[in-house]
């Protein structure tokens, strides 16, 4: 799949009709991966004033399906779906990109790191400076439980964050616990500023996102 063009929508398998033009011919770095119809089902995030956390899409039914297939069914290829969008959004950022890490055990279980893969497909260089300490997932917990969780991350020993501007990247922002914990660790490590970017943003009131069990 990597060398070949994508000619069917990765989500609904409908044949893609791609109009060829000069730009496509020469700089087709992020080929279209889903059909217009599937694209229309995702809801773009509207910026609500000056916020520390930036996002691209809202969490809706289509996004739930996507995340389920990507993260829980482990369809790695779906990282390509938003590659172009993420690239456009992050290519001019001056900060150092820091993805939220996975616990090594969890990483082995899932066989890939979903955040890293999103960035890799979007061709955004990144550096790991954090380490996750627990294997439990935030998904499936209530708001109260999330608020009470002890620190999730530690700084890597070889990490150099002093005086740097950092941009945290995660797949979804729900209550902000993950981002808050990571920010705290980085600030304590001497970072100048920490901002965050997530692909998906849960709408207000949308709380516990259910961890879907593996369906087979």
């Amino acid at each position: 799949m990597n060398r070949r063009e994508i000619d069917h929508c990765l989500l609904c398998n409908a044949p893609l009709t791609i109009r060829m033009d000069w730009k496509r011919l020469f700089v087709n770095r992020f080929p279209q991966a889903i059909c217009q119809e599937c694209e229309g089902k995702f809801e773009r995030y509207r910026h609500e004033g000056n916020e520390e956390v930036d996002s691209l899409y809202y969490y809706n039914e289509a996004m739930q399906d996507y995340l389920h297939r990507y993260k829980f069914m482990r369809d790695v290829l779906l990282a390509k779906v938003f590659a172009g969008e993420i690239h456009r959004h992050l290519k001019n950022r001056k900060e150092l990109i820091v993805p939220i890490p996975m616990h090594p055990e969890k990483w082995k279980e899932r066989t890939f790191s979903h955040v890293d893969e999103l960035l890799r497909q979007a061709r955004i260089p990144f550096v790991h400076v954090l380490e996750k300490t627990t294997t439990e997932a935030q998904a499936g917990k209530s708001r109260e439980e999330r608020m009470k969780t002890p620190q999730l991350f530690v700084l890597r020993e070889d990490a150099q964050v002093e005086g740097k501007d950092l941009l945290l990247v995660d797949d979804i922002y729900t209550t902000g616990t993950t981002i808050r914990h990571a920010t705290q660790v980085l600030m304590e490590g001497g970072a100048k500023s920490v901002k965050a970017f997530t692909l998906i943003r849960a709408k207000g009131g949308q709380e516990a996102i259910k961890a879907s069990p593996l369906m087979f």
Binding site: M1, D75, V76, L77, K108, T111, F112, F216
Partner: protein, 476 residues
Amino acid sequence: MKYILRRNRESKRYKGIIAEPEIRDFFLGKIWSREHAPFSKEKLDCYISRSFFKIKPAISIKPSSPSLFGKRYFCNRCHNDNQREFVEFDCARCGKACVYCRHCINMGRMSCCTELLVWNGPSGIFPKRHVFDWNGSFTVLQQQAAEELRESIGRKRNHLLHAVCGAGKTEILFPAVFHCLRKGWRICIATPRTDVVLELFPRFQKAFPNTIMHAYYGDAPEQKGLAQLVIATTHQLYRFEKAFDVVIVDEADAFPYTYDRSLQKAVWKARKEGAPVAFVTATPTSELLTKVKKERWGCSFIPRRYHGHPLPVPRFEPLWFYDRQIDKGKLPKKLMHWTKRRLGREEPFFIFFPAIPLMEKAIPLFQEIHPDICGVHAKDSERKEKVMKLRNGEIPGLLTTTILERGVTIKNVQVAVVGAESKIFTSGALIQISGRAGRHADFPNGDIVFFHHGISVEMDAARNEILRLNKEGFRT
């Protein structure tokens, strides 16, 4: 529980185990991934070390014949070899470049580092005593077809049973299935549609009350015991390998079976070597018919319904710009009259729509006429319950997509198709839809209307085929 035999024989200790029945019952005939198996890891390791299982990698890599193109991948579960559906990625578990199959990913991902287990232990013995509790009677044609089918299976020859909708196909299977059960064979009845599985399962359960049978479909509950009779969707056959002495494919022309090559392969891989496969359908594809001729399969043809009445013939009604009218929130007049008439006569009805969005727009319009009318589609979780409600007369009618085009029997049902000229309604689909009406002996006639925005070739073909079958069936 583990049964350990210990014996001291000249200082050589023999250590073996006897397979637990549960683990054998679960794995017999199946090809199942190690990580998804419902048994503990230690237990499986113990069995594997004693070679009760053969282990296969889920994706095998073959060098392609002209080695210019690199490797060719092959999924051992769904037998997919379309290279476009394999995805290479860096795997954290096996620590190298790994490949997974996108074709059967909905059943859990299979990658190079996933292992598939195939039972290698003692096989089960199936009982030969069965109770056959059915006291219906056959028409001459049915009797003949049932005997032909049984004979074909006895001679290990493939068979095609071509019978019109409502010819009593399920009943025709009974004697053949009973024959196989009594020989102690394992049988599978496969069909592309979950609805058909749900419809067939209780009927077979009633006819063979003492036989252990399982139904497999998308979210089927876990079932215990060693099933001699398996009723499954064709997708579920991905999980079987060399399991059955006979495979019967019901509704062999339904989507996605005809469309998806790997489902067809799944049927052939699920049977034991040389075991016969029988296809049952009302609208065989030309491909199937040529195969029957070429490979000299057995073939039975029933052009008449079991009650001996001719098939109801659809009539065409123009319904110009129905989609625009529904978009505007207006129900086309003709459709409204038709619905009101059915309600007035208290006849249950199906109204077929070509697409889900159109149907969803139409639901509130119909609910203005009668609040209990509701709609079903493929993603509806209450599909089973709604059809049940219609059968019990709790709701007057259902709006549906092609999902209910087959396998559903409701007494005295009347049928309308909105937008019959749409691409999705092929002649096969329209024949199936028409076949919903007039299935009961007390109500052999039913109204079938194709509301259209211009008559399509497929509509004509469907009507001509029905007329031909009627002619064939009543030729004396």
